[in-house]
């Protein structure tokens, strides 16, 4: 139905475009038009399509809400609001054909029938109303083909509005992130205390699967998850920090242009490799390597999911972030400072350590913060190489878990609706979003201020 509608409107618009363009063209043979003929054509096309599409979208939007609300009445005997939502979603999914699952509840079949009939009426009405609107506006626009009509100005005004809307869209994305995380997080805090979450020392969300299980309350003390994230990220920085920084120093201060022109892009390839590849690399290469190394050093209590493995592979991944941002910072130091120091008889390493690094210190700190924020938010490497059990430890040979591992673990596989277990993933994601945002804001402002220093 909707496809036919769209195609009809589109053809109407195309027809209008051709018609009005031709009309304007005829006019233009004897007059000088304000706007070129194709603007007259576009004007009709816009007038036919844009309001109709807006109507179409808002129609489905509003109908979704209305019909969803009415469906709830069929499950009025259920007290759990989350379950009601789950059932109504089940009805919608069944009607849309995304699932064959029939829910075992007396209200289900009537609800499906109600929804089907409502949908049918709605779509017929939608078809008629939208098409009428398009036709009226199409007809209306025919009047305007005349010499003085400023079709171009009208079109440009619409184009500017579309551009502005596109720019504002990014804000809506951010708002969407904040609101969707915040909403679920607040629901999570309905059942779990904020302080227990932020400061509790025990994390085992899996306990909460069934109400009759022992320890069914589950525990949502996220401290072990946070410490695990920090431990792995620090290990990553311990790998990427020195390697990235020394690479940047070597390439910016010592290497010949030729070496630099090859080595820099090669190192940057590391950043372009998908993280799932690193995860696989961690599992099939790095983990056995560390295990053999451990065995060789007669060191046996190393977990195969140890923080060390995930952390070092994560470190390899963020080397290019540290290297290229540090390189930017180092090369932004004016050459005159380097020359000044060398002319004093300082060696290049002394110059680097005593003049260039201090002069670019802000930029380097910024680059480390950005890399650290990357490490915290990285998902696939830790999902594949780190464990799910959140142990409260700072021993790099132990298995720890991270925020992102928990989010993936809690939201894939069998999902329950609205259990604290699922909602806790949103709370963790909210913390993750918040922390990476802060790190990013700080590092960007540091880098910006530093850049201004030399401009």
């Amino acid at each position: 139905m909707i496809e036919i509608l769209l195609i009809t409107i589109l053809s109407l618009a195309l027809y209008g475009f051709a018609l009005n363009k031709k009309k304007a063209k005829v006019l233009s043979e004897i007059n000088i038009l304000h706007s070129q003929p194709h603007y007259h054509g576009l004007y009709t096309a816009f007038l036919t399509i844009v309001p109709a599409i807006i109507l179409l979208i808002s129609w489905s939007f509003i109908m979704n809400i209305i019909m969803g609300a009415n469906l709830k009445d069929y499950f009025s005997d259920i007290t759990d609001a989350g379950l009601v939502e789950f059932y109504t979603n089940g009805v919608i999914d069944y009607v849309e054909g995304t699932t064959d699952a029939i829910i075992d509840h007396v209200g289900f079949i009537p609800a499906v029938e109600y929804y089907q009939s409502l949908q049918k009426t709605s779509s017929i009405l939608q078809f008629i109303v939208t098409l009428t609107l398009a036709l009226i506006l199409f007809r209306y626009s025919m009047r305007f083909v005349e010499v003085q009509f400023k079709a171009r100005d009208h079109i440009e005004r619409v184009v500017v509005i579309i551009m502005r809307a596109s720019a504002v869209f990014a804000i809506f994305v951010t708002l969407g992130i904040v609101l969707s995380l915040l909403f679920e997080t607040l629901r999570f805090f309905d059942s779990v205390n904020v302080f227990d979450f932020l400061f509790g020392l025990h994390w085992s969300p899996q306990m909460a699967i069934r109400a009759d299980q022992v320890g069914s309350s589950g525990s949502f003390g996220a401290v072990p998850v946070f410490t695990g994230t920090l431990l792995i990220s620090f290990i990553a920085m311990a790998v990427a920090g020195p390697i990235g920084m020394y690479s940047a120093i070597y390439l910016s201060q010592y290497a010949s242009d030729r070496v630099r022109s090859y080595a820099k892009p090669i190192i940057e390839i590391l950043a372009g490799i998908p993280t799932v590849v690193y995860g696989f690399f961690a599992v099939i290469t790095v983990a056995p390597f560390f295990r053999d190394l451990g065995a060789f050093l007669t060191f046996t209590n190393m977990s195969s999911e140890s923080a060390l493995i995930a952390g070092s592979v994560l470190g390899i991944m963020i080397i290019p972030f540290v290297a290229s941002l540090t390189d930017d910072a180092l090369t932004a130091v004016p050459k005159s400072l380097k020359e000044g120091s060398l002319a004093m008889g300082a060696t290049l390493s002394e110059t680097t350590k005593k003049v260039i690094i201090p002069a670019s210190f802000h930029g380097i700190v910024g680059s480390f913060l950005l890399a650290f924020s990357r490490a915290i938010g990285e998902t696939m490497i830790v999902v594949m190489a780190a464990g799910f059990a959140a142990n409260l430890t700072f021993n790099p040979f132990d298995s720890v878990s991270t925020v992102t591992v928990q989010i993936v673990g809690l939201l894939t596989g069998d999902q329950e609706f609205d259990s604290p277990k699922t909602l806790s993933a949103f709370a963790l994601a909210f913390v993750l979003f918040f922390i990476t945002l802060i790190l990013n804001v700080i590092s960007l402002s540091i880098v910006k201020r530093y850049r201004e220093q030399y401009e």
Partner: protein, 406 residues
């Protein structure tokens, strides 16, 4: 006075550290690629076993039960001591479960001709790993192949009835429980749908907003807010976009789970800031003199933008877009959140059908305890990397073209 020779030594040491760091970084890349390629290359070949068939043209092919006939033909090739049930089972498991489908196809294709002589059929993953040398013979067994099976493998080998041929399943099949029948076609198509949608959604929005911010917006608090917002959005962890997709597209708009459509929309939101930032840089690099000339000739601001600025900035915009798309192709975490992680044996026929994506397929196979999936994981990674290399080469080409202009 400080000792000049010790100062020179410390200079050399410092330089040495630098060299070590660069060498380490590059060797990590080399080790990683070497590992992937050395484990993955074998997946492009697959072990096939020859089975002797003897079906005259006159026989009605539809009357043949492919499974039992194939099994019988296979057993007949060996000396008659294959008697006990267990032994027969062991021997037959050298053939893949897919062999009977291949035989069925063969029958359908040759309805009125004879099938006589040796025909090649897919071998099981266990035999495949032995032939490829992934598992070695230890005493009388090799990996999961027991003594009995190894006896018959030896017979097949001595008669040259087992060989490696190119792996046609890898690029023609979707996922499967049987490693030897599993392929990445479904995942590739899922990825392509998702990327196409991501591109169609993010490209116009990103370019229009870049134009607006660069050329039309007055510099005030609001445009500052949009700018900071886009910069920060670029640093949001990808998994958060997955949660956004889950909350908005699945829970609010009730779009189907596991569909490339939702994956594409989620990836679109993720790549948006990358493209906006690159597009703004490209638009900024267009010399204002050209725009001024156009405006001087009586073009309106919008005409100037669409007629002059955008075409001139296009190579730069496309470069940024390609880099964004390349990131999106390799992205896994957000797709896990919206359920594109399901086991899907069908090749998706459209963007609304359940599907996985290439990186997710890699994740699923890497997670599988079946050892035979390891080489396929590496092969899938190789394919993914080839995609990325091609995209980046295009980006480099476009950048070169851009540089030539001014």
């Amino acid at each position: 006075m400080n000792n000049i020779s010790s100062r020179n030594q410390s200079e050399k040491r410092f330089q040495f550290y630098g060299k070590v760091a660069v060498t380490l970084a590059i060797s990590f890349l080399v080790i990683l690629l070497y590992n992937i390629f050395s484990t993955g290359i074998s997946a492009f070949q697959q072990t096939y076993v020859a089975v002797k068939l003897d079906i005259p043209a006159s026989v009605d092919k539809k009357s043949i039960n492919p499974r039992s006939y194939l099994n019988k033909s296979f057993l007949e090739m060996f000396p008659p001591e294959v008697k006990s049930r267990n032994e027969r089972k062991a021997v037959l498991s050298l053939l893949s479960k897919g062999a009977k489908y291949e035989f069925q196809e063969l029958l359908e294709d040759n309805e009125s001709s004879s099938l006589q002589g040796y025909f090649w059929f897919l071998a099981s993953a266990d035999l495949d790993m032995y032939i490829k040398g992934t598992v070695k013979r230890q005493g009388d067994t090799a990996g999961r192949l027991d003594e009995v099976q190894m006896q018959y493998v030896d017979i097949l080998e001595s008669k040259n009835l087992v060989e490696l041929q190119s792996n046609k399943y890898l690029f023609s099949a979707a996922d499967s429980r049987e490693p030897e029948m599993a392929g990445i076609r479904g995942a590739i198509i899922g990825s392509l749908y998702a990327i196409l949608i991501a591109f169609l959604v993010s490209f116009p929005i990103a370019v229009l907003s870049a134009v607006y911010l660069e050329k039309l917006a007055s510099k005030n608090k609001f445009s500052d807010l949009i700018e900071t917002n886009i910069n920060n959005l670029a640093a949001v962890p990808s998994i958060v976009f997955g949660l956004l997709g889950l909350a908005i597209f699945l829970n609010f708009f009730n779009l189907p789970r596991s569909a490339p459509l939702v994956g594409g929309l989620t990836l679109a939101l993720m790549t948006l800031p990358t493209i906006v930032i690159a597009s703004r840089a490209a638009i900024k690099s267009v010399p204002p003199s050209i725009e001024e000339a156009a405006i001087g000739l009586g073009a309106s601001k919008v005409q100037t933008i669409f007629g002059f600025t955008l075409p001139l900035a296009m190579p730069g915009i496309l470069t940024g877009t390609i880099i964004g798309i390349a990131q999106a192709i390799g992205e896994t975490a957000p797709l896990l959140m919206i359920g594109m992680v399901a086991f899907v044996v069908d090749i998706p026929g459209g963007p609304m059908e359940p599907s996985t994506a290439l990186p997710v397929q890699i994740f699923l196979w890497a997670d599988s305890p079946e050892r035979a999936f390891t080489e396929r994981t590496s092969a899938a990674i190789m394919v993914l990397l080839v995609f990325l290399v091609l995209l980046n080469l295009t980006a480099i080409y476009l950048r070169k073209k851009l540089e030539k202009k001014w």
